[in-house]
Amino acid sequence: MLSHIPQKLLDSNPDIALSSDIIGNCVHCGVCLSHCPTYTVLHNENDSPRGRIFLIKDMYETGGAPDSKTVEHLDRCLTCLACEAICPSGVEYSKLIGHAREYVEEHYKRSLWQRSVRSTLEILLPRPELFRLSLYAGKLGRPFRSLFSGTIRAMLDMVPKNPLPAIGKINKPGLYASPDQPATGQRKKRIALLTGCVQNTLDPAINDATVRLLNRHGVDVVVARGAGCCGAPAEHMGDEDKALPYVKANIDAWLREADSPEGLDAIVINASGCGTSVKAYGHVLRNDPAWAEKAARVSAMAKDITEFMTTIGLSKPVIETGQRVVYHSACSMQHGQRIVLPPKTLLREAGFEVLDVPEGYLCCGSAGTYNLLQPEIANQLKDRKLKNLKSVHAQIAASGNIGCITQLADEAGIPFVHTVELLDWATGGPIPPAMAKMAH
């Protein structure tokens, strides 16, 4: 599609220049509409990828502050990237929407309320201690949830109904070493694990299972000192300046490990939302000469846990499995990282019967901070996902992203676990806590 963005803007802002090229690749065929969750539930072209590309084009062509309607429609995008995965012309929508959000945050003045919600999330989410405290506060507030609407209510809804899990085993930097002789007899490997900020508070069992699984397969796990949040919460809200310190801290921490005598075989991530973010470090810092190369190196080393397990091979299951597992592929997994088969193949190798969710390409509404910022749309998508999920009558639900698990677990009616918890259980670990609880 032809755009007429002023030359001055193109010359002064490389992100907008790149956006202009990307807009040029869009032929307006409309295929993206078919996979867009917001278009599916809202039926408005403005809430589709093709519509948003048009809005973004107009926003740059007009220059200055965008109008509130444009911002509303850009805010409604889940960044699930189903559109990018299906686009026949290879339009890199993720970059377009990312740059557009930065432009909006720079040029558009949000209401005081919106600003405070956003900065609260930016402060809380990446800091496990604060996040944990806020969850306790949320538990006190939960009985009063019906007095609230919108974001506050969504936040209170997100607070786990059950007692908060105890802090997990993987709670500080250091080496979590495997037995000297790997069970499978391969050469010992060494990886850095991103422990995630939200995940380690909401469900520490995931990291515990990940480390057990890796150790059992002869992989040493390092939690690098200085590594923390991947930066996605701020990035989602278009605040690149707030995201960059996290990004750079992680790059430094992991490269220090990679360049140590022991080296690193991979940076393993078990929350696909974080994985998508780390794999994009190279793009985010591409114009920064001091960081571009380092960032690209980190992105190249980043692997989802299921990608990594596929390369080293899963050992034979030691227990009788065979349960019907419905696998919910997170958007960041299937669209963001285009990892479709490995998790399902691994689950099958572990002896489970794996089922797909109908309309599996649609987002569940979690989408990072989306369920807090756009609770109405998020709830519509959640209900749709739950209905599809229940339609296949599985015994267990599995996913590779904490956001989706939190969004869906309470109402799925079956235990909702992380893929690695099932792989760990099948190859010799304990039964996943969610399943043990449901069994009682």
């Binding site: 599609m1 040029g24 307006h28 065929c29 408005n44 809005l55």
Partner: protein, 497 residues
């Protein structure tokens, strides 16, 4: 692109009209902010844009009926729109008219395996019909490349085709019943929910199918479902020249075989596709035919042998047949990625859509090479060879002044050639605004007048999708009166009531 004269009075009343329409469809379903109307400015052709007066998204037949009556009372034009994928500008808005979207009417109302029908709303996406029919072993056959997103309502309006239409027929062969709203607010029902429901009446379903939104707004469709073919195999056949490939098309059809699909790709397309599918094509290959054969296994295996023998006799360099669904998918991938692949080797392309008798393929393809030289623009060919439906892809650069106009002229020359060899202007994309001014090349004044008289019978207000299909306004008002030519009534001897 010349469009009907805009009525500034209507544009001045935008807010007032929006209020009236909001009372009918609900406040949030009338889009009036300029920034939000902008993304509706075009459909699948971005070269033509116009800002709609308002965008209205109704949720029922009754709402559509009331919207039409409201527009009639207020003299407001209406452009119907499905998913906005038209490649002929069929859903191009007009500035003094509303864009009437069917996006909210997207449900499959009923699937009946006994009658082998599905009743659907106009905004239902083509592919969702087959998905809903799939548990019964049935499918909806017409499969335009846009089937993942294009709507059944839009498919009916444009009489959409697709790869499998060679064997199974186009949209019009699969519509059993229609509900539509006329400009006077009448809701009409044509045909019904079983195969013979339209027998014994004038074929008005045939009239509405392909009417491009000029006659009525379609609000419900009953489509025919057919059993999913038990098995399918694909042949990939390479030829040393465009001519030999074209002759092979004629030879296959002439032998009495009706393939499920028979597609043509020239060397330029193959070169563009090769990097995307990580395959190389033999240097001596000038054109490739893809031929799908479907049916029961023994039939398909026998057909594969027959087509292979024909291709070899016609001078094929190599013939490969798929032996698994995965292989079949791989062969089809090259065709399915063709347009995207061309998009990667040029800044913009313009694809048009003429249909010719199959035996004239070599002549018309030779003409295209001449036009390419004349306009200095590169082109490639990738089309439905089996039914002679051409899709020349003309490459240009929208940033270069005058390039688009040259591409349009190139396309027009190709379409005129199609008509000159006995073909027609459109195979499946429709006339819209894109081919509108070429209609006089295909039809005589009398032919066009007859078509326009029919249009006036359905919509004497001429408010439905104005400026599309016909190069001149219809003058329905005159048709309504006694027609006096040169001071003489036509057919003065015919007794009148």
């Amino acid at each position: 692109m010349k469009m009907p004269v805009t009525d500034p009075g209507v544009i001045a009343r935008r807010e007032q009209l929006a209020t009236g329409l909001r009372a009918i469809v609900g406040a949030e379903w009338v889009i009036s902010e300029e920034s939000e109307r902008a993304p509706y400015q075009c459909d699948g052709i971005t070269a033509y844009m116009a800002m709609p007066l308002l965008v209205v998204l109704p949720a029922s037949t009754d709402e559509i009926r009331r919207v039409l009556l409201f527009c009639k009372e207020n003299g407001v034009k209406i452009v119907p729109r499905g998913s906005g994928t038209s490649l002929s500008g069929g859903a191009l808005p007009v500035e003094d008219g509303i864009l009437l979207g069917t996006a909210r009417l997207c449900n499959i109302l009923d699937v009946n395996p006994t009658e082998r029908i599905a009743r659907v709303q106009p905004g239902a996406r083509n592919i969702t019909v087959s998905e809903a029919a799939s548990p019964h072993g049935l499918c909806y056959m017409p499969d335009p490349s846009s089937q993942i997103i294009s709507t059944i309502g839009g498919n009916v309006a444009e009489n959409a085709g697709g790869v499998h239409c060679l064997k199974y027929g186009v949209t019009s062969n699969h519509i059993l019943g229609l509900e539509a709203v006329l400009m006077n607010g009448d809701v009409i029902h044509l045909g019904g929910n079983y195969l013979g429901a339209a027998d014994g009446s004038l074929d008005l379903i045939g009239v509405l199918t392909g009417s491009e939104g000029l006659l009525a707004v379609i609000t419900e469709i009953t489509v025919r479902l057919v059993p999913k073919p038990e098995t399918a195999r694909v042949l990939s056949m390479s030829f040393p020249s465009v001519d030999t490939a074209c002759h092979c098309v004629g030879a296959i059809i002439g032998s009495g075989i009706i393939p499920a699909g028979l597609e043509f790709m020239d060397r330029k397309v193959l070169d563009a596709v090769a990097p995307l599918i990580q395959e190389t094509f033999d240097a001596s290959t000038a054109a490739l035919l893809i031929c799908e054969l479907d049916g029961c296994k023994s039939e398909v295996d026998a057909l594969v042998q027959s087509v292979t023998a024909i291709a070899q006799k016609e001078g094929a360099i190599e013939v490969r047949a798929s032996n698994s669904d995965a292989e079949r998918e791989r062969i089809w991938r090259s065709r399915k990625l063709a347009f995207a692949a061309i998009g990667k080797i040029c800044r913009d392309y313009y694809c048009t859509d003429g249909t010719i008798p199959r035996n004239r393929l070599p002549d018309v393809l030779a003409k295209m090479a001449e036009f390419s030289k004349k306009y200095g623009l590169d082109y490639a060919n990738c089309f439905h060879a089996g039914d002679g439906n051409l899709h020349p892809i003309i490459m240009y650069d929208s940033r270069k002044p005058g390039d688009l106009e040259k591409a349009e002229e190139f396309g027009a020359d190709v379409l005129r050639t199609c008509v000159d060899v006995g073909g027609v202007l459109s195979g499946e994309h429709g006339i819209g605004v894109e081919k509108r001014d070429l209609m006089t090349h295909q039809f005589t004044t009398t032919d066009l007048e007859q078509q326009q008289t029919l249009r006036c019978a359905f919509d004497p207000t001429e408010l439905l999708n104005p400026g599309k299909m016909f190069p001149t306004p219809c003058r329905c008002a005159e048709f309504g009166r006694m027609h006096v030519h040169n001071g003489q009534l036509r057919f003065p001897d015919v007794p009148r009531f």
